[in-house]
Protein backbone atom coordinates (compact mmCIF):
# COMPACT_ATOMS: atom_id res chain seq x y z
CA UNK A 1 0.00 0.00 0.00
CA UNK A 2 1.43 3.43 -0.86
CA UNK A 3 2.60 5.13 2.32
CA UNK A 4 2.36 8.56 0.85
CA UNK A 5 -1.13 9.95 1.30
CA UNK A 6 -0.93 11.75 -1.98
CA UNK A 7 0.32 8.85 -4.07
CA UNK A 8 -1.47 8.16 -7.32
CA UNK A 9 -3.36 4.88 -7.21
CA UNK A 10 -5.21 4.90 -10.52
CA UNK A 11 -4.49 7.31 -13.35
CA UNK A 12 -6.06 7.65 -16.78
CA UNK A 13 -4.27 9.74 -19.39
CA UNK A 14 -6.43 10.63 -22.39
CA UNK A 15 -7.82 7.11 -22.51
CA UNK A 16 -10.02 6.08 -25.40
CA UNK A 17 -11.69 2.71 -25.91
CA UNK A 18 -13.14 1.69 -29.26
CA UNK A 19 -14.70 -1.76 -29.60
CA UNK A 20 -14.11 -4.14 -32.51
CA UNK A 21 -17.43 -3.21 -34.08
CA UNK A 22 -16.35 0.45 -34.20
CA UNK A 23 -18.42 1.81 -31.30
CA UNK A 24 -16.58 4.28 -29.17
CA UNK A 25 -17.11 3.60 -25.47
CA UNK A 26 -14.61 6.02 -23.91
CA UNK A 27 -13.17 9.22 -25.29
CA UNK A 28 -10.23 11.27 -23.94
CA UNK A 29 -10.72 10.29 -20.32
CA UNK A 30 -8.17 11.71 -17.90
CA UNK A 31 -8.28 11.61 -14.12
CA UNK A 32 -6.08 10.70 -11.19
CA UNK A 33 -7.32 8.88 -8.12
CA UNK A 34 -5.13 9.52 -5.09
CA UNK A 35 -4.55 7.29 -2.10
CA UNK A 36 -7.54 6.89 0.29
CA UNK A 37 -9.77 8.94 -1.99
CA UNK A 38 -13.33 7.88 -2.83
CA UNK A 39 -14.37 8.61 -6.38
CA UNK A 40 -18.03 8.59 -7.24
CA UNK A 41 -18.61 8.08 -10.94
CA UNK A 42 -22.09 9.13 -12.04
CA UNK A 43 -23.55 8.58 -15.48
CA UNK A 44 -26.62 7.42 -17.34
CA UNK A 45 -26.97 3.84 -18.53
CA UNK A 46 -24.69 3.26 -21.52
CA UNK A 47 -22.44 6.21 -20.75
CA UNK A 48 -19.41 3.94 -20.40
CA UNK A 49 -19.19 3.55 -16.62
CA UNK A 50 -18.68 -0.20 -16.63
CA UNK A 51 -16.24 0.02 -19.54
CA UNK A 52 -14.23 2.57 -17.57
CA UNK A 53 -14.01 0.23 -14.55
CA UNK A 54 -13.07 -2.74 -16.69
CA UNK A 55 -10.44 -0.64 -18.43
CA UNK A 56 -9.01 0.32 -15.05
CA UNK A 57 -8.78 -3.38 -14.21
CA UNK A 58 -7.14 -4.21 -17.55
CA UNK A 59 -10.08 -6.33 -18.70
CA UNK A 60 -10.60 -4.19 -21.81
CA UNK A 61 -8.09 -3.31 -24.45
CA UNK A 62 -7.19 0.39 -24.47
CA UNK A 63 -7.28 1.99 -27.93
CA UNK A 64 -5.69 5.35 -27.07
CA UNK A 65 -3.97 6.89 -24.07
CA UNK A 66 -2.46 5.30 -21.01
CA UNK A 67 -3.64 3.67 -17.80
CA UNK A 68 -1.48 3.68 -14.69
CA UNK A 69 -2.11 1.52 -11.64
CA UNK A 70 0.01 2.27 -8.56
CA UNK A 71 2.19 4.44 -10.81
CA UNK A 72 2.90 1.55 -13.16
CA UNK A 73 1.94 1.76 -16.82
CA UNK A 74 -0.40 -1.16 -17.42
CA UNK A 75 -1.70 -0.12 -20.85
CA UNK A 76 0.11 -2.80 -22.81
CA UNK A 77 1.04 -5.10 -19.97
CA UNK A 78 0.73 -8.81 -20.86
CA UNK A 79 -2.08 -10.69 -19.14
CA UNK A 80 0.28 -12.88 -17.09
CA UNK A 81 1.90 -9.84 -15.48
CA UNK A 82 -1.44 -8.11 -15.15
CA UNK A 83 -2.60 -10.83 -12.73
CA UNK A 84 -0.10 -9.58 -10.16
CA UNK A 85 -1.34 -6.01 -10.47
CA UNK A 86 -4.96 -7.17 -10.27
CA UNK A 87 -4.27 -8.92 -6.99
CA UNK A 88 -4.01 -5.42 -5.50
CA UNK A 89 -7.48 -4.50 -6.71
CA UNK A 90 -10.83 -5.75 -5.52
CA UNK A 91 -13.74 -5.51 -7.88
CA UNK A 92 -17.45 -5.80 -7.29
CA UNK A 93 -19.22 -6.66 -10.54
CA UNK A 94 -22.63 -5.32 -11.44
CA UNK A 95 -24.48 -8.62 -11.09
CA UNK A 96 -22.11 -9.84 -8.36
CA UNK A 97 -20.54 -12.40 -10.76
CA UNK A 98 -20.28 -15.07 -8.08
CA UNK A 99 -19.36 -18.50 -9.42
CA UNK A 100 -22.58 -20.54 -9.46
CA UNK A 101 -20.84 -23.89 -9.16
CA UNK A 102 -19.06 -22.97 -5.93
CA UNK A 103 -20.26 -22.43 -2.38
CA UNK A 104 -20.08 -19.01 -0.76
CA UNK A 105 -16.93 -20.06 1.12
CA UNK A 106 -15.25 -21.29 -2.09
CA UNK A 107 -16.22 -18.08 -3.86
CA UNK A 108 -14.70 -15.90 -1.17
CA UNK A 109 -11.58 -18.10 -1.00
CA UNK A 110 -11.16 -17.98 -4.80
CA UNK A 111 -8.78 -14.99 -4.98
CA UNK A 112 -6.68 -16.38 -2.13
CA UNK A 113 -6.30 -19.71 -3.90
CA UNK A 114 -5.79 -18.40 -7.41
CA UNK A 115 -3.84 -15.17 -7.20
CA UNK A 116 -0.21 -16.07 -7.43
CA UNK A 117 0.89 -12.80 -5.85
CA UNK A 118 -0.96 -13.73 -2.66
CA UNK A 119 1.04 -16.36 -0.88
CA UNK A 120 -1.30 -17.37 1.91
CA UNK A 121 -0.77 -20.65 3.74
CA UNK A 122 -3.84 -22.88 3.52
CA UNK A 123 -4.47 -22.91 7.26
CA UNK A 124 -4.82 -19.13 7.25
CA UNK A 125 -7.34 -19.12 4.42
CA UNK A 126 -10.36 -20.31 6.35
CA UNK A 127 -10.05 -17.64 9.06
CA UNK A 128 -9.56 -15.00 6.33
CA UNK A 129 -12.72 -16.16 4.56
CA UNK A 130 -14.66 -16.15 7.83
CA UNK A 131 -13.39 -12.66 8.70
CA UNK A 132 -14.41 -11.38 5.33
CA UNK A 133 -17.89 -12.86 5.56
CA UNK A 134 -18.24 -11.56 9.12
CA UNK A 135 -17.41 -8.13 7.73
CA UNK A 136 -20.50 -8.29 5.50
CA UNK A 137 -22.46 -10.04 8.28
CA UNK A 138 -23.04 -13.24 6.33
CA UNK A 139 -20.93 -15.72 8.25
CA UNK A 140 -23.85 -18.17 8.43
CA UNK A 141 -23.95 -18.65 4.64
CA UNK A 142 -20.52 -20.33 4.26
CA UNK A 143 -21.78 -23.62 2.84
CA UNK A 144 -24.64 -22.28 0.77
CA UNK A 145 -24.65 -21.73 -2.99
CA UNK A 146 -25.08 -18.26 -4.57
CA UNK A 147 -28.37 -19.34 -6.18
CA UNK A 148 -29.84 -19.84 -2.71
CA UNK A 149 -29.16 -16.25 -1.69
CA UNK A 150 -31.14 -13.07 -2.30
CA UNK A 151 -29.81 -10.36 -4.62
CA UNK A 152 -28.65 -8.19 -1.73
CA UNK A 153 -26.93 -11.11 0.00
CA UNK A 154 -25.19 -12.08 -3.23
CA UNK A 155 -23.83 -8.59 -3.54
CA UNK A 156 -22.59 -8.69 0.05
CA UNK A 157 -20.82 -12.00 -0.63
CA UNK A 158 -19.27 -10.39 -3.71
CA UNK A 159 -18.02 -7.54 -1.51
CA UNK A 160 -16.57 -10.13 0.88
CA UNK A 161 -14.79 -11.76 -2.07
CA UNK A 162 -13.47 -8.39 -3.28
CA UNK A 163 -12.02 -7.42 0.11
CA UNK A 164 -10.81 -10.82 1.34
CA UNK A 165 -7.17 -10.18 0.42
CA UNK A 166 -7.32 -6.58 1.68
CA UNK A 167 -6.57 -4.87 -1.63
CA UNK A 168 -5.60 -1.19 -1.44
CA UNK A 169 -7.93 -0.26 -4.34
CA UNK A 170 -11.56 -1.24 -4.72
CA UNK A 171 -13.73 -0.82 -7.78
CA UNK A 172 -17.49 -1.05 -7.33
CA UNK A 173 -19.70 -1.41 -10.39
CA UNK A 174 -23.22 -0.16 -9.62
CA UNK A 175 -23.26 -1.69 -6.14
CA UNK A 176 -26.83 -0.56 -5.45
CA UNK A 177 -28.42 -1.10 -8.86
CA UNK A 178 -31.65 -3.08 -8.77
CA UNK A 179 -31.85 -3.19 -4.98
CA UNK A 180 -34.57 -1.85 -2.69
CA UNK A 181 -33.66 1.37 -0.78
CA UNK A 182 -32.98 -0.42 2.50
CA UNK A 183 -30.67 -3.04 0.99
CA UNK A 184 -29.02 -0.33 -1.13
CA UNK A 185 -28.29 1.59 2.07
CA UNK A 186 -26.81 -1.54 3.68
CA UNK A 187 -24.49 -2.02 0.70
CA UNK A 188 -23.37 1.64 0.74
CA UNK A 189 -22.81 1.36 4.50
CA UNK A 190 -20.52 -1.63 3.85
CA UNK A 191 -18.58 0.31 1.22
CA UNK A 192 -18.12 3.20 3.66
CA UNK A 193 -17.19 0.77 6.43
CA UNK A 194 -14.54 -0.82 4.19
CA UNK A 195 -13.18 2.62 3.32
CA UNK A 196 -12.98 3.79 6.94
CA UNK A 197 -11.78 0.52 8.50
CA UNK A 198 -9.12 -0.45 5.97
CA UNK A 199 -8.40 3.05 4.56
CA UNK A 200 -8.82 1.87 1.02
CA UNK A 201 -9.09 3.88 -2.15
CA UNK A 202 -12.34 3.34 -4.00
CA UNK A 203 -13.98 4.06 -7.31
CA UNK A 204 -17.75 3.70 -7.06
CA UNK A 205 -19.81 3.65 -10.23
CA UNK A 206 -23.46 4.48 -9.70
CA UNK A 207 -26.40 6.26 -11.23
CA UNK A 208 -27.82 7.21 -7.81
CA UNK A 209 -26.69 10.50 -6.36
CA UNK A 210 -27.75 9.34 -2.86
CA UNK A 211 -24.91 6.81 -2.90
CA UNK A 212 -22.38 9.55 -3.53
CA UNK A 213 -23.99 11.80 -0.98
CA UNK A 214 -23.76 9.05 1.63
CA UNK A 215 -20.10 8.40 0.87
CA UNK A 216 -19.24 12.10 0.97
CA UNK A 217 -21.01 13.00 4.20
CA UNK A 218 -21.02 9.96 6.43
CA UNK A 219 -18.45 7.97 8.33
CA UNK A 220 -18.55 4.50 9.79
CA UNK A 221 -18.73 4.46 13.56
CA UNK A 222 -16.95 1.31 14.78
CA UNK A 223 -18.59 1.53 18.23
CA UNK A 224 -22.20 1.62 17.13
CA UNK A 225 -21.68 -0.14 13.79
CA UNK A 226 -23.72 2.57 12.11
CA UNK A 227 -23.06 5.55 9.86
CA UNK A 228 -22.61 8.90 11.53
CA UNK A 229 -22.57 12.31 9.81
CA UNK A 230 -19.00 13.28 8.99
CA UNK A 231 -19.66 16.91 10.02
CA UNK A 232 -17.47 18.44 7.40
CA UNK A 233 -14.37 16.44 8.38
CA UNK A 234 -13.44 15.80 4.76
CA UNK A 235 -14.06 12.25 3.52
CA UNK A 236 -11.93 12.91 0.42
CA UNK A 237 -14.82 12.22 -1.90
CA UNK A 238 -14.57 13.43 -5.47
CA UNK A 239 -17.40 13.26 -7.99
CA UNK A 240 -17.09 12.55 -11.70
CA UNK A 241 -19.83 12.56 -14.30
CA UNK A 242 -19.62 10.55 -17.50
CA UNK A 243 -21.67 11.33 -20.57
CA UNK A 244 -21.50 9.25 -23.73
CA UNK A 245 -17.96 8.18 -23.02
CA UNK A 246 -16.69 11.63 -22.08
CA UNK A 247 -15.87 12.97 -18.65
CA UNK A 248 -18.01 16.11 -18.29
CA UNK A 249 -17.45 16.88 -14.63
CA UNK A 250 -14.81 16.31 -11.96
CA UNK A 251 -14.91 18.00 -8.58
CA UNK A 252 -16.38 18.23 -5.11
CA UNK A 253 -19.98 17.86 -4.04
CA UNK A 254 -20.57 21.62 -3.74
CA UNK A 255 -19.40 22.23 -7.33
CA UNK A 256 -21.53 19.36 -8.55
CA UNK A 257 -24.64 20.73 -6.89
CA UNK A 258 -23.90 24.21 -8.20
CA UNK A 259 -23.47 23.03 -11.79
CA UNK A 260 -25.85 24.60 -14.27
CA UNK A 261 -25.34 21.91 -16.88
CA UNK A 262 -28.72 20.21 -17.43
CA UNK A 263 -27.22 16.71 -17.76
CA UNK A 264 -25.18 17.02 -14.57
CA UNK A 265 -27.92 18.63 -12.54
CA UNK A 266 -30.28 15.83 -13.52
CA UNK A 267 -28.28 13.46 -11.32
CA UNK A 268 -28.13 15.86 -8.41
CA UNK A 269 -31.79 16.78 -8.38
CA UNK A 270 -33.05 13.24 -8.43
CA UNK A 271 -32.95 12.54 -4.68
CA UNK A 272 -34.92 15.69 -3.91
CA UNK A 273 -37.57 14.54 -6.30
CA UNK A 274 -37.56 11.11 -4.69
CA UNK A 275 -37.95 12.66 -1.28
CA UNK A 276 -40.83 14.88 -2.35
Amino acid sequence: MPENDNASVLRFEKVGVVFDDGTRALDQISFDVRHSETRILLGAAGSGKTVLLKTAMGLNRVTEGKVFLFNEDVTTMPEAQMFDVRSKIGMLFQESALFDSMTVAQNVAYPLLNQKAIQMPREKMEPAVRDSLRFVELEQTLERYPSELSGGMRRRVAIARAVVNKPPLLLYDSPTAGLDPITAHTIMALIIKERDVDKTTALVVTHRYQDGNLAANFRYNPDSGRLDPADGTGTKTVFMVLREGRLVFEGGQADLEASADPYISKFVKRPEKDAA
Binding site: F93, A97, F99
Partner: protein, 253 residues
Protein backbone atom coordinates in the same frame (compact mmCIF):
# COMPACT_ATOMS: atom_id res chain seq x y z
CA UNK B 1 -17.96 -8.73 -50.83
CA UNK B 2 -14.90 -8.34 -48.63
CA UNK B 3 -17.05 -7.14 -45.78
CA UNK B 4 -19.19 -10.27 -45.96
CA UNK B 5 -16.10 -12.46 -45.71
CA UNK B 6 -14.51 -10.44 -42.94
CA UNK B 7 -16.80 -11.76 -40.19
CA UNK B 8 -16.36 -15.50 -40.80
CA UNK B 9 -12.62 -15.18 -41.43
CA UNK B 10 -12.16 -13.25 -38.22
CA UNK B 11 -14.20 -15.87 -36.38
CA UNK B 12 -11.99 -18.64 -37.76
CA UNK B 13 -8.90 -16.71 -36.75
CA UNK B 14 -10.28 -16.26 -33.24
CA UNK B 15 -11.13 -19.94 -33.09
CA UNK B 16 -7.57 -20.95 -33.92
CA UNK B 17 -6.26 -18.44 -31.42
CA UNK B 18 -8.44 -20.03 -28.73
CA UNK B 19 -7.36 -23.51 -29.81
CA UNK B 20 -3.70 -22.44 -29.62
CA UNK B 21 -4.11 -20.96 -26.15
CA UNK B 22 -5.98 -24.05 -24.95
CA UNK B 23 -3.23 -26.34 -26.28
CA UNK B 24 -0.54 -24.19 -24.69
CA UNK B 25 -2.50 -24.54 -21.45
CA UNK B 26 -1.64 -28.25 -21.38
CA UNK B 27 2.01 -27.47 -20.82
CA UNK B 28 1.62 -24.38 -18.67
CA UNK B 29 1.02 -24.19 -14.95
CA UNK B 30 -1.32 -24.17 -13.07
CA UNK B 31 -2.98 -27.47 -13.98
CA UNK B 32 -6.56 -27.72 -12.88
CA UNK B 33 -6.65 -31.49 -12.31
CA UNK B 34 -9.91 -31.31 -10.34
CA UNK B 35 -11.63 -29.59 -13.25
CA UNK B 36 -10.31 -32.17 -15.70
CA UNK B 37 -11.69 -35.04 -13.58
CA UNK B 38 -14.98 -33.25 -13.10
CA UNK B 39 -15.34 -32.71 -16.84
CA UNK B 40 -14.36 -36.31 -17.57
CA UNK B 41 -17.19 -37.38 -15.34
CA UNK B 42 -19.72 -35.02 -16.85
CA UNK B 43 -18.68 -35.43 -20.51
CA UNK B 44 -17.57 -39.07 -20.42
CA UNK B 45 -19.49 -40.94 -17.76
CA UNK B 46 -22.52 -38.73 -18.30
CA UNK B 47 -22.64 -39.66 -22.00
CA UNK B 48 -22.49 -43.43 -21.43
CA UNK B 49 -26.28 -44.04 -21.38
CA UNK B 50 -26.89 -42.12 -24.61
CA UNK B 51 -23.97 -43.89 -26.31
CA UNK B 52 -25.19 -47.31 -25.12
CA UNK B 53 -28.67 -46.73 -26.46
CA UNK B 54 -27.72 -45.25 -29.84
CA UNK B 55 -24.93 -47.80 -30.31
CA UNK B 56 -27.12 -50.81 -29.60
CA UNK B 57 -29.96 -49.76 -31.84
CA UNK B 58 -27.70 -48.68 -34.69
CA UNK B 59 -25.92 -52.04 -34.64
CA UNK B 60 -29.24 -53.86 -34.48
CA UNK B 61 -30.83 -52.00 -37.35
CA UNK B 62 -27.69 -52.35 -39.43
CA UNK B 63 -27.60 -56.13 -38.94
CA UNK B 64 -31.26 -56.27 -39.87
CA UNK B 65 -30.80 -54.38 -43.13
CA UNK B 66 -27.50 -56.04 -44.03
CA UNK B 67 -28.82 -59.50 -43.26
CA UNK B 68 -31.79 -58.96 -45.52
CA UNK B 69 -29.64 -57.81 -48.42
CA UNK B 70 -27.07 -60.55 -47.88
CA UNK B 71 -29.82 -63.16 -47.71
CA UNK B 72 -30.44 -62.64 -51.44
CA UNK B 73 -26.93 -63.92 -52.12
CA UNK B 74 -27.01 -66.57 -49.45
CA UNK B 75 -24.33 -64.71 -47.52
CA UNK B 76 -26.11 -64.01 -44.21
CA UNK B 77 -23.09 -65.47 -42.48
CA UNK B 78 -21.10 -62.35 -43.32
CA UNK B 79 -23.46 -59.97 -41.48
CA UNK B 80 -21.07 -59.67 -38.55
CA UNK B 81 -18.24 -58.69 -40.86
CA UNK B 82 -20.19 -55.80 -42.37
CA UNK B 83 -21.52 -54.63 -39.04
CA UNK B 84 -18.09 -54.53 -37.45
CA UNK B 85 -16.33 -52.79 -40.33
CA UNK B 86 -18.96 -50.10 -40.71
CA UNK B 87 -19.20 -49.57 -36.98
CA UNK B 88 -15.52 -49.41 -36.20
CA UNK B 89 -14.53 -47.35 -39.21
CA UNK B 90 -17.40 -44.96 -39.58
CA UNK B 91 -20.59 -45.14 -37.60
CA UNK B 92 -19.12 -45.71 -34.16
CA UNK B 93 -16.82 -42.67 -34.16
CA UNK B 94 -19.29 -40.39 -35.97
CA UNK B 95 -22.34 -41.40 -33.96
CA UNK B 96 -20.59 -41.17 -30.61
CA UNK B 97 -19.11 -37.79 -31.56
CA UNK B 98 -22.41 -36.40 -32.83
CA UNK B 99 -24.18 -37.58 -29.69
CA UNK B 100 -21.53 -36.05 -27.46
CA UNK B 101 -21.63 -32.87 -29.58
CA UNK B 102 -25.38 -32.67 -29.10
CA UNK B 103 -25.03 -33.22 -25.41
CA UNK B 104 -21.77 -31.48 -24.54
CA UNK B 105 -20.90 -28.88 -27.19
CA UNK B 106 -24.25 -27.30 -26.45
CA UNK B 107 -23.82 -27.88 -22.72
CA UNK B 108 -20.37 -26.29 -22.69
CA UNK B 109 -21.57 -23.35 -24.80
CA UNK B 110 -24.53 -22.66 -22.54
CA UNK B 111 -22.47 -22.97 -19.36
CA UNK B 112 -19.66 -20.73 -20.57
CA UNK B 113 -22.15 -18.41 -22.26
CA UNK B 114 -24.06 -17.89 -19.02
CA UNK B 115 -20.79 -17.24 -17.25
CA UNK B 116 -19.87 -14.71 -19.93
CA UNK B 117 -23.12 -12.74 -19.76
CA UNK B 118 -23.12 -12.69 -15.95
CA UNK B 119 -19.52 -11.36 -15.96
CA UNK B 120 -18.15 -14.49 -14.30
CA UNK B 121 -15.50 -14.78 -17.02
CA UNK B 122 -14.37 -11.21 -16.29
CA UNK B 123 -14.48 -11.97 -12.58
CA UNK B 124 -12.22 -14.95 -13.18
CA UNK B 125 -9.66 -12.74 -14.90
CA UNK B 126 -10.02 -10.13 -12.18
CA UNK B 127 -9.37 -12.78 -9.53
CA UNK B 128 -6.20 -14.11 -11.08
CA UNK B 129 -7.19 -16.99 -13.35
CA UNK B 130 -6.91 -17.32 -17.09
CA UNK B 131 -10.39 -18.46 -18.23
CA UNK B 132 -8.89 -20.44 -21.13
CA UNK B 133 -6.60 -22.34 -18.77
CA UNK B 134 -9.31 -22.88 -16.18
CA UNK B 135 -12.32 -23.59 -18.42
CA UNK B 136 -11.24 -24.52 -21.95
CA UNK B 137 -8.14 -26.67 -21.42
CA UNK B 138 -9.77 -29.05 -18.88
CA UNK B 139 -12.79 -29.53 -21.17
CA UNK B 140 -10.52 -30.16 -24.14
CA UNK B 141 -8.40 -32.73 -22.30
CA UNK B 142 -11.45 -34.44 -20.81
CA UNK B 143 -13.17 -34.79 -24.18
CA UNK B 144 -9.98 -35.98 -25.91
CA UNK B 145 -9.64 -38.77 -23.35
CA UNK B 146 -13.30 -39.70 -23.06
CA UNK B 147 -14.53 -39.60 -26.65
CA UNK B 148 -12.28 -42.44 -27.90
CA UNK B 149 -13.34 -44.46 -24.85
CA UNK B 150 -16.99 -43.77 -25.58
CA UNK B 151 -16.43 -44.80 -29.20
CA UNK B 152 -15.03 -48.16 -28.12
CA UNK B 153 -18.14 -48.68 -25.98
CA UNK B 154 -20.34 -47.57 -28.86
CA UNK B 155 -18.63 -50.00 -31.28
CA UNK B 156 -18.95 -52.91 -28.90
CA UNK B 157 -22.57 -52.27 -27.98
CA UNK B 158 -23.36 -51.90 -31.69
CA UNK B 159 -21.86 -55.33 -32.35
CA UNK B 160 -23.94 -56.75 -29.52
CA UNK B 161 -27.03 -55.20 -31.14
CA UNK B 162 -26.06 -56.77 -34.45
CA UNK B 163 -25.53 -60.12 -32.75
CA UNK B 164 -28.99 -60.06 -31.14
CA UNK B 165 -30.61 -59.35 -34.51
CA UNK B 166 -28.53 -61.92 -36.42
CA UNK B 167 -29.44 -64.64 -33.95
CA UNK B 168 -33.10 -63.72 -33.62
CA UNK B 169 -33.96 -62.87 -37.22
CA UNK B 170 -31.58 -64.93 -39.31
CA UNK B 171 -30.85 -67.74 -36.94
CA UNK B 172 -27.11 -67.20 -37.29
CA UNK B 173 -24.97 -69.19 -34.83
CA UNK B 174 -23.41 -66.81 -32.25
CA UNK B 175 -19.96 -68.24 -32.82
CA UNK B 176 -20.13 -67.56 -36.55
CA UNK B 177 -21.25 -63.97 -35.95
CA UNK B 178 -18.51 -63.14 -33.47
CA UNK B 179 -15.78 -64.89 -35.47
CA UNK B 180 -16.65 -62.93 -38.61
CA UNK B 181 -16.85 -59.65 -36.66
CA UNK B 182 -13.46 -60.25 -35.14
CA UNK B 183 -11.75 -61.46 -38.27
CA UNK B 184 -13.03 -58.60 -40.40
CA UNK B 185 -11.05 -56.03 -38.45
CA UNK B 186 -7.46 -55.10 -39.27
CA UNK B 187 -5.18 -52.67 -37.45
CA UNK B 188 -5.94 -49.96 -39.96
CA UNK B 189 -9.61 -50.07 -38.96
CA UNK B 190 -8.81 -49.89 -35.28
CA UNK B 191 -6.36 -47.07 -35.98
CA UNK B 192 -8.82 -44.87 -37.79
CA UNK B 193 -11.57 -45.93 -35.41
CA UNK B 194 -9.62 -44.41 -32.55
CA UNK B 195 -7.94 -41.53 -34.34
CA UNK B 196 -11.27 -40.18 -35.55
CA UNK B 197 -12.87 -39.69 -32.15
CA UNK B 198 -9.62 -38.20 -30.86
CA UNK B 199 -9.71 -35.55 -33.60
CA UNK B 200 -13.48 -35.07 -33.32
CA UNK B 201 -13.07 -34.45 -29.60
CA UNK B 202 -11.30 -31.17 -30.31
CA UNK B 203 -14.16 -30.03 -32.52
CA UNK B 204 -16.69 -31.00 -29.86
CA UNK B 205 -14.97 -29.26 -26.94
CA UNK B 206 -13.35 -26.27 -28.63
CA UNK B 207 -16.37 -25.28 -30.71
CA UNK B 208 -18.53 -25.43 -27.58
CA UNK B 209 -16.04 -23.28 -25.66
CA UNK B 210 -15.58 -20.88 -28.58
CA UNK B 211 -19.28 -20.11 -28.95
CA UNK B 212 -19.71 -19.96 -25.19
CA UNK B 213 -16.90 -17.47 -24.66
CA UNK B 214 -18.02 -15.11 -27.42
CA UNK B 215 -21.63 -14.96 -26.21
CA UNK B 216 -23.15 -11.50 -26.10
CA UNK B 217 -26.68 -10.26 -25.62
CA UNK B 218 -27.93 -11.75 -22.38
CA UNK B 219 -29.95 -14.95 -22.05
CA UNK B 220 -31.09 -14.76 -25.65
CA UNK B 221 -27.43 -14.78 -26.67
CA UNK B 222 -26.84 -17.90 -24.57
CA UNK B 223 -29.60 -19.70 -26.45
CA UNK B 224 -28.11 -18.64 -29.77
CA UNK B 225 -24.61 -19.73 -28.75
CA UNK B 226 -25.91 -23.12 -27.64
CA UNK B 227 -27.64 -23.83 -30.94
CA UNK B 228 -24.72 -22.57 -33.03
CA UNK B 229 -22.21 -24.64 -31.09
CA UNK B 230 -24.21 -27.81 -31.55
CA UNK B 231 -24.85 -27.26 -35.25
CA UNK B 232 -21.29 -26.24 -36.12
CA UNK B 233 -19.75 -29.03 -34.05
CA UNK B 234 -21.97 -31.70 -35.65
CA UNK B 235 -21.36 -30.47 -39.19
CA UNK B 236 -17.59 -30.24 -38.58
CA UNK B 237 -17.58 -33.85 -37.43
CA UNK B 238 -19.01 -35.00 -40.76
CA UNK B 239 -16.59 -32.83 -42.73
CA UNK B 240 -13.59 -33.98 -40.70
CA UNK B 241 -14.74 -37.57 -41.08
CA UNK B 242 -14.57 -37.35 -44.84
CA UNK B 243 -11.01 -36.03 -44.77
CA UNK B 244 -9.73 -38.53 -42.24
CA UNK B 245 -11.41 -41.41 -44.09
CA UNK B 246 -9.81 -40.25 -47.34
CA UNK B 247 -6.37 -40.33 -45.75
CA UNK B 248 -6.90 -43.88 -44.47
CA UNK B 249 -8.43 -45.10 -47.71
CA UNK B 250 -5.44 -43.75 -49.67
CA UNK B 251 -3.06 -45.44 -47.28
CA UNK B 252 -4.62 -48.86 -47.79
CA UNK B 253 -4.66 -48.66 -51.57
Amino acid sequence: MLDILKGPIQAIQEFYELAGRALRGIARKPHYVDDILLQMDSIGVGSVPIVLLTGFFTGAVMAMQMGRSLQQYGQTGRTGQFVSIILVRELGPVLAAVMVAGRNSSGIASELGSMKVTEQIDAMRALGTDPVQKLVTPRMIATAVMLPALTVIDDFVGMVGGWVMSVLLFGLPSRQYWTSTWQALVWNDVGQGLLKPFIFSFAVSLIGCFYGLRTTGGTQGVGRATTQAMVVASVSIFILDLFISKIFVSRTN
